[in-house]
Structure formats: structure tokens, C-alpha cells
Amino acid sequence: MSRDLVCREVVELINGYLDGSLPADVRAAVEAHLAGCDGCTMVLEEFRQTIAMTGMLTEEQVASAQRDILLAAFRGWATA
């Protein structure tokens, strides 16, 4: 990749970076940017932590959240 990346571009590449799915040159450009950018480094850490927390959920918790949302929607619908 011949040019430097800007923050707006880097944030779109962060999940590819975390998953190791970026081509080598793009990955290197992301790393070069992160080395000099506190804001993007923070966002990277926030994504990493969000993914780790998502992994702490059980499928049952997600399924029950889905039920709650449906029930709330039905209640709103019934009282509308």
C-alpha cells in the first residue's frame, strides 16, 4: 500500500486486522498508523475488549435477550 491510511479508513479495517484477514501490505499500513495514533489504538482496544466480552455471553443469554425484545415489541404493539 503506497500511501498512509487516515483514521477514518483505519477504523473500517480494525476487525479485519483483529481477525488476521488483511493482505500483508494493508496490515503493515494499519500497524504503521496504529503506532502513531492514540485514538485508533484506543478504538482497537475497545473492539478487542468488546469481542472478548461477547465471548463471555452464552447462547442462552442472547436468545433470552431476543425474546425480551420481541415481548417488548408485542407489548408496545398491543397498547398502541
Binding site: 487516515v6 483514521c7 477514518r8 485514538g39 473492539f47 466480552m53 455471553l57 443469554q61 435477550a65 431476543q66
Partner: protein, 185 residues
């Protein structure tokens, strides 16, 4: 038997993505296991057993879904926000650098950040995603499947899988940010 018990709940969920009811999904899963047993002799071990089983399952589920004439357009399942930026345009200046940084929660105590409330926020955020985004993040980040396994199970291209996951994670991160900002105030 352990394999059957272990995989059946995920198979039911994946099947349910293609068909209209839990009952039909159960039939698809049963039919898939029959297919697996019939095909086992010809299984060449090129794909992992799980990947192979899910491929059989998805083929059957798709066939059933088509017969049910439940052809939901991909855009409906995937969500119409796949091109949306991860952060609002106003977060960046004209040159593409940050003008307003997202909330920085790194200084907050760990037990606060990763507490039950935050996990509940994540659960609700996932439950509110368009169906295919929710499926991808559940399989990848909740159940820990690899991107290849998810691609095969949901019959997605590599690019679609990546875009769906990125959108899903972006929205979950944003929900976490909003929650932590509100409790830190």
C-alpha cells in the same frame, strides 16, 4: 452420541435461519443426521467433520426454505446498513483524522466494564441486529467458530462474512460505549 448432542442445538439454530418454523428446523436437523449417516462412508476427511455436517444441513435447509417459498431477499436478512461507516462522519475532520474521539473507557474499573450490565447490553445489541448480522456474530464471537466454519454454515462469501461481522461488532461496540459513558457520568 456426544457429537449428536453437541451439534444438534447449533444445527437447529442454523436450520432455523432458512426455514420458517422451529418444527421445520427440527425436521431439517433429523434429515441432516440421516444424510450424515448415509454419507459417512464417503466422507473423505477433507473438511472438518463439523464443517461437512453443516454443509449437508445447509443444503437440506435451503431446499426446504425454497420449497416453503420463503425467499427473503438477502438485503432484508443482511441489513441495509452494510455500507454505513463505523463512526459518524462528524467524528472525523476533513482530512480523515479524529475530530471527536469515542468515549475512552480504559480508565474505568474492570468489574464495571465487564460486569453483568455490560453483558446484558451486548446481548440486547446482538438481539437487535438484522438477522444475518446477528447470526454471524453469534457463531463467530459467542460460539467461537472460525470464519471458514461460519462461511460454510451460512453459505456466505468471504467478503460478506467479513462485512456482516464488522457491522455487527461496530454496533455492539457502540452500544457498549454508550452504556459505559452513561454509567461513568
Amino acid at each position: 452420541m456426544e457429537l449428536v448432542d453437541g451439534l444438534t442445538p447449533s444445527m437447529r439454530r442454523v436450520a432455523r435461519m432458512f426455514v420458517s418454523s422451529d418444527a421445520v428446523a427440527d425436521e431439517v436437523v433429523q434429515e441432516a443426521w440421516v444424510g450424515v449417516l448415509k454419507g459417512l462412508a464417503g466422507y473423505e476427511g477433507r473438511a472438518s467433520l463439523r464443517t461437512w455436517i453443516f454443509r449437508i444441513l445447509v443444503n437440506i435447509a435451503k431446499g426446504r426454505g425454497q420449497r416453503e417459498a420463503r425467499s427473503v431477499p438477502f438485503a432484508t436478512l443482511a441489513g441495509d446498513d452494510l455500507d454505513a461507516p463505523t463512526f459518524d462522519a462528524a467524528a472525523f475532520d476533513h482530512s480523515g483524522g479524529w475530530s471527536t474521539l469515542p468515549f475512552d473507557w480504559r480508565g474505568m474499573p474492570d468489574e464495571r466494564v465487564t460486569g453483568r450490565e455490560t453483558l446484558a447490553v451486548i446481548g440486547r445489541a446482538i438481539a437487535s441486529l438484522p438477522p444475518m448480522q446477528a447470526h454471524v456474530i453469534r457463531l463467530r464471537d459467542v460460539l467461537g467458530w472460525s470464519s471458514d466454519e461460519v462461511r460454510n454454515a451460512l453459505d456466505l462469501t468471504d467478503t460478506n462474512q467479513r462485512v456482516l461481522l464488522h457491522r455487527a461488532r461496530a454496533k455492539v461496540r457502540a452500544a457498549v460505549e454508550e452504556h459505559l459513558r452513561s454509567v461513568s457520568a
